[in-house]
């Protein structure tokens, strides 16, 4: 293999890096550092931040609770239609989030496929915090499922057999052997899912609306501020979201790469 890569390739690669790096530089360059603290500590910003944390943590919890069994079934049970189920559950990763929001509305909205019965039962997801949670879970859960499923596939099934011969029933094998073995990937998947949920915009605004104090999460708040009264606040809060993403990425790098 040649040690010296061809010049044009390097030039294009540098351009690609610039494509990623320049917007970040723009954010830093334009950041109103002097008023940063004031913007951050404003009541509205803090409310949006709190909402974002609440909804993203709840969405991650939903993803872990529902996604763990799903990942296990997908990794371990060979059933007809498994690839169809995989396609459906991975769809939100490539679906435009706004389409996801519309779809959620049609399914879970007041007059939606299922929503009409939920409505009758007194459960209202749209324009409510739970709707934001649902939208975020819809978009972010595939990241968790995909990571965990890959990890479950890599567990040596003979270790589980060894556990059986030592007196562990199927449930004990799952909780005492399988889950501990995939724990690093489970944590990595949950963090990745959380980061995605934290940044969710399209599905949330479409399905849950943009009600300050109820469904206006941080990305929605940033958008409103940028369009309206206070671009400075938008920049500062964007930096906050950027910082969170970077911390998650750096923290995960090793595990995420290994899981893939």
């Amino acid at each position: 293999m040649s040690r010296r890569p061809p010049g044009p390739v390097v030039a294009v690669a540098v351009l690609a890096v610039a494509l990623f790096a320049l917007p970040l530089a723009g954010l830093l360059w334009r950041a109103p550092w002097r008023s940063a603290w004031r913007e951050l500590s404003s009541h509205d910003a803090l409310t949006a931040l709190r909402l974002s944390l609440q909804t993203s943590v709840l969405a991650t919890a939903v993803a872990v609770l529902l996604g763990t069994p799903l990942a296990w079934v997908q990794a371990r049970v060979a059933y007809p239609g498994r690839s169809v189920v995989r396609a459906v559950t991975m769809l939100p990763m490539v679906l435009p989030p706004v389409v996801g929001g519309v779809a959620l509305l049609l399914a879970l909205g007041r007059r939606g496929l299922v929503g009409r019965y939920l409505d009758g039962a007194g459960v209202h997801l749209p324009f409510h915090l739970s709707g934001a949670v649902a939208a975020e879970a819809f978009v972010a859960m595939p990241f968790f499922v995909l990571t965990l499923e890959a990890a479950l596939r890599s567990v040596d099934p003979r270790l589980e057999e060894a556990a059986r011969t030592l007196g562990a029933g199927p449930w004990a094998v799952f909780t005492r052997v399988t889950l501990p073995l995939v724990r690093p990937s489970l944590v990595a998947g949950a963090l990745l899912c959380w980061a995605r949920a934290l940044g969710e915009f399209g599905a949330t605004i479409t399905f849950a609306g943009n009600l300050p104090g109820h469904t206006q999460t941080l990305p929605l708040f940033v958008y409103v501020k940028l369009e309206g009264s206070s671009p400075d606040a938008a920049v500062i809060l964007s930096l906050v979201l950027l910082a969170v993403s970077l911390v998650v990425l750096v923290g995960l790098r090793e595990r995420w790469l290994r899981a893939l």
Partner: protein, 352 residues
């Protein structure tokens, strides 16, 4: 463990893909039984059936009168409910648990409180000489240590049936000697039914009291190791277990065998109880007393000649009963009385 004899009776018929295993065997706790055979013969499949990891298609497995698997009457005891301990080929220690917790795992799952399970596990580590490795993760253990932990893990639940799948295959040669000797002691001390799967003739001959040879899913021969070595029923068996093995006592470069013969060996460091292995190809037969002075030479009587493919196996009796591999031409000219010579350098000595 009950002091009386425990018997395993296994009439096994199982189909895995294109492969069919049909084996009928009865094993009691008096013997260590070695299951030998070439790769793909069905040895590990048999072990999986006995452990409950694979259900029978037909037949019946019963241990000490308790039916474990009987498809005809719909009985199947799942692996977690069988009183079996399994040592797997590459040990399969749980990588996320310490050595101590690996050994305690079986007791914990069988309802022993944590403190008591750990106490028992610690006892087993002591017995294995690994008390100082209690906190180590499997990745930090040497091959020999991992093997001992795997054995301790299987024995800690006090099973009635001990199944070992190629227990020494993953070890390098020097470690193998030590572990083989220790395994021999632990097998001796265990009072249940003992089954050992191996493809290594030396492991089978040194560890097993009775050998069951499986080829292509069928039992082709059973018997004591010396019986099988003397009269192998197939070329494979001849190659696999057709070697001369004696117990003896070593001192100063000489091994005195149980039958009273003295063998000069190269290994002067060996002292005490040993196994001596003489490959049949290393045994030379002469019509007259050989020239020079090979130290291991004695007159013997030809007791039998077996043709097996391109080799001829000659059985000789005398101070030592031996088998020798010679060419068919040489065998044709052998008189009834011969001289046997074995070079000291060809004799392998293993601690017993």
């Amino acid at each position: 463990m009950a002091a009386g004899t425990v018997t395993l009776s296994a009439d096994v018929a199982v189909q895995v893909g294109q492969f069919a295993l049909a084996v009928d065997l009865t094993v009691d706790s008096g013997d260590v039984v070695g299951i030998v055979g070439p790769n793909g013969a069905g040895k590990s499949t048999l072990l999986r059936v006995l452990a409950g990891l694979l259900a029978l298609d037909a037949g019946r497995v019963a241990l000490d009168g308790v039916v474990l698997d009987d498809p005809a009457s719909g009985v199947f005891v799942p692996p977690e409910a069988r009183p079996a301990g399994v040592v797997f080929q590459d040990y399969l220690l749980f990588p996320h648990l310490s050595a101590l917790d690996n050994v305690a795992f079986g007791c914990r799952r069988r309802g022993v409180p944590r403190r008591e399970a750990r106490r028992r596990a610690r006892e087993w580590l002591d017995r294995m000489g690994l008390a100082d490795r209690a906190a180590a993760r499997p990745a930090e253990l040497s091959g020999g240590q991992a093997q001992r932990i795997a054995l301790a893990r299987a024995l800690a639940t006090d099973p009635a049936l001990l199944l070992l799948d190629e227990p020494l295959a993953a070890l390098d040669a020097p470690t193998r000697r030590d572990v083989r000797r220790d395994l021999h002691h632990h097998l001796d001390a265990f009072h249940g039914v003992r089954l050992l799967v191996t493809h290594d003739p030396l492991d089978a001959l040194t560890l097993a009291d009775r050998i069951v040879v499986i080829e292509d899913g069928r039992v082709v021969q059973t018997g004591r190791p010396d019986e099988i070595a003397a009269q192998p029923r197939s070329a494979y068996v001849a190659e696999l277990v057709g070697t001369n093995l004696f117990r003896g006592t070593a001192a100063g470069g000489v091994v005195r065998t149980a039958s009273g013969a003295d063998l000069a060996v190269v290994d002067t460091a060996a002292v005490g109880a040993v196994f001596v292995v003489i490959p049949p190809a290393a045994v030379a037969l002469y019509r007259t007393r050989p020239d020079g002075s090979p130290r291991n030479t004695w007159p013997a009587t030809v007791a039998g000649v077996d043709r097996l493919g391109d080799r001829t196996r000659v059985r000789v009796t005398g101070p030592l009963t031996l088998v020798a591999d010679v060419t068919p031409a040489a065998a044709a000219e052998l008189p009834a009385e011969v001289w046997v010579a074995v070079k000291a350098t060809e004799i392998q000595v293993y601690p017993a």
